[in-house]
Amino acid sequence: MFRRLRDDGEIVTIRVDGRPVDAVAGDSVAAALLAAGVARTRVTDGRGEPRGPYCAIGACFDCLVTIDGIGNRRACTVEVAPGMSIETQGAKREITR
């Protein structure tokens, strides 16, 4: 869904849901995910619907992901780092006993 204009950037390997993904130094996590074809970064807990980055400037909070174990971080405001672990988040919220 997004392509890079150049392919000679410094590669930074991150893990997305356990799978290695090549990002480029300077990418936000959101940019790295979109470039890798990850359109859905979370599932809403109310209706269980898919969401991805919307504003990409830190305002909409729709690109929330878990980064290195800390949940609900805005993927568009965090820069990738080598070995960073990203988990897409969420599922429909169920009330259980």
Partner: protein
């Protein structure tokens, strides 16, 4: 006061054109100046990544963008302190600023604060706008600037405003092919804008507008007077449907749908700090109530740039200078400042063209006050219909609606739905937006972990406040 506070004369929030210009001017006049910015590099949204651009072909972005580098050079030479990746989440009445950086919170104590928090895109609530692959047009622009990314596949841009043409020309220059521009500018805006045309013709906006239109027209299918937009798809966007005057509906297959209907001030921090705002009936958004130098209703806090009302990047820089001059004059009486008249002359020039643009590009009612089945609050998944139902039950303003149906209660804190909720309430109650009011903004203005708050240094007054 906290033991570990960083002391400064002036704290500036936001490193876009207004913040950079303001901080440079203050620092050059010998004031201890601290610039706090959430971005990884200075520039704000308009000059995003200008000092570390991944673009090899500089012609993809226009000359105005690259000139942003000059503001940053001046800022770096000014002697101001700068914190990147610093998210301001609280400002107290005695101007103590809490900001989070790399998982730790610091406190800065200032004698004066300039909020240069810029603008965000106006929400564009249509059915399906929450689907992955539907994005704000500015999002695509920011991914282009900071990572050299362009959308692939079938791209459709829908909306109104100068950014539609700017972003389209940038994407074309970057080799993207745009399937269509669905122009939602209503026909009646043209006649309403006409009386303001002379001001525009003599404003700095004219030359840019002509250039952009020429760059895009003839290379992209442009559909005018579009209404009834709707995005469709299951796990991501697959189609966009629309109507045009007097015609049956049409549907286009799409991989990326980019929406835009103008930008509005990012007011959250100012509102939470207690700055009084009023509804701007032309720009259709909340703007801070300001004196001629950007001074607000809160002593010591000024607002500059697009956060003070949309004027564009160059006007923003001049408004930053203007605010800085007011502070320098009060803190360094007798200091000679040559910029004052220059700033006011430049601002008058930009104001001249603005009225035409704001009237022509005023987004139509149906995309501000959406249909019942449209999600208004993306975070809490609240539809316009649920908001109307709450108003019918007796909710008189956004805060009451929020308590009933949770709109504005999610992580974005109402940034994305605030204007929509205000206008839905106003239209349902048949009162003005000013009377309907806005969400009460509260600190923390951005999410912060409990660990960060717990690790803050505690002063005696803070301890006394909770220990019995």
């Amino acid at each position: 006061m906290s033991a570990a506070a960083i002391e400064c004369d002036v704290a500036v929030v936001g490193a876009g054109p207004a913040g950079l210009a303001a901080a440079s001017a203050c620092a050059r006049s010998g004031l201890a100046t601290l610039l706090l910015d959430e971005g990884a590099a200075p520039g704000g949204q308009v000059y995003r990544a200008v000092t570390r651009s991944p673009l090899r072909d500089r012609t993809i972005l226009e000359a105005d963008y690259w000139q942003g580098g000059r503001l940053i050079d001046e800022f770096k030479a000014s002697g101001a302190s700068y914190e990147a990746r610093a998210t301001v989440w609280s400002i107290t009445p005695d101007l103590e600023i809490a900001y989070s950086k790399d998982g730790r919170t610091s406190i800065a104590s200032a004698r004066s604060v300039i909020l240069a928090t810029g603008a965000i895109e106006r929400p564009f609530p249509i059915p399906g706008w929450t689907l992955p692959g539907v994005m704000a047009l500015g999002a695509a622009q920011s991914l282009l600037k900071s990572s050299g990314l362009v959308p692939s596949g079938r791209i459709v841009i829908a909306g109104t405003g100068p950014l539609v043409w700017l972003a389209a020309s940038q994407m074309l220059a970057a080799g993207a092919s745009i399937a269509a521009i669905l122009d939602t500018t209503p026909h009646e805006n043209r006649s309403r804008a006409l009386p303001h045309l002379p001001g525009f013709l003599f404003s700095p906006y004219l030359r840019r507008a002509m250039k952009l239109l020429l760059a895009v027209r003839g290379r992209v299918q442009i559909v005018p007077y579009v209404t009834d937009l709707r995005a469709g798809g299951q796990v991501k966007v697959e189609s966009v449907s629309y109507r045009t005057a007097g015609e049956a509906g049409r549907t286009l297959g799409v991989d990326t749908l980019l929406l835009h209907q103008g930008v509005v001030p990012e007011t959250h921090l100012a509102m939470a700090a207690g700055v009084a705002h009023r509804w701007d009936p032309l720009q259709l958004c909340w703007t801070p109530v300001l004196d001629r130098n950007g001074g607000t209703s809160v002593p010591g806090i000024l607002v500059a740039g697009d956060a003070a009302g949309i004027g564009g990047a160059q006007a923003a820089a001049w408004r930053g200078v203007n605010a800085a001059i007011a502070i320098i004059e009060s803190m360094r009486p007798g200091k000679k400042l040559p910029h004052g008249r220059l700033a006011r002359t430049a601002l008058a020039q930009f104001a001249r063209g603005r009225r035409f643009l704001d009237t022509l590009c005023q987004p139509p009612l149906q995309f501000r006050v959406p249909s019942d089945d449209t999600i208004a609050c993306r975070c809490e998944e609240v539809t316009a219909g649920e908001i109307r139902a709450a108003v019918d039950e007796g909710c008189t303003g956004p805060n009451q609606v929020k308590a009933f149906v949770r709109c504005g209660m999610g992580p974005c804190q109402g940034r994305m739905c605030g204007l929509t909720v205000t206008e839905i309430v106003a239209h349902r109650r048949n009162v003005s937006a000013e009377q309907a009011g806005h969400f009460t903004a509260r600190f923390p203005a951005k999410p912060v972990t409990l660990a960060e708050i717990a690790s803050l240094p505690h002063g005696h007054s803070a301890i006394d406040a909770v220990v019995r």
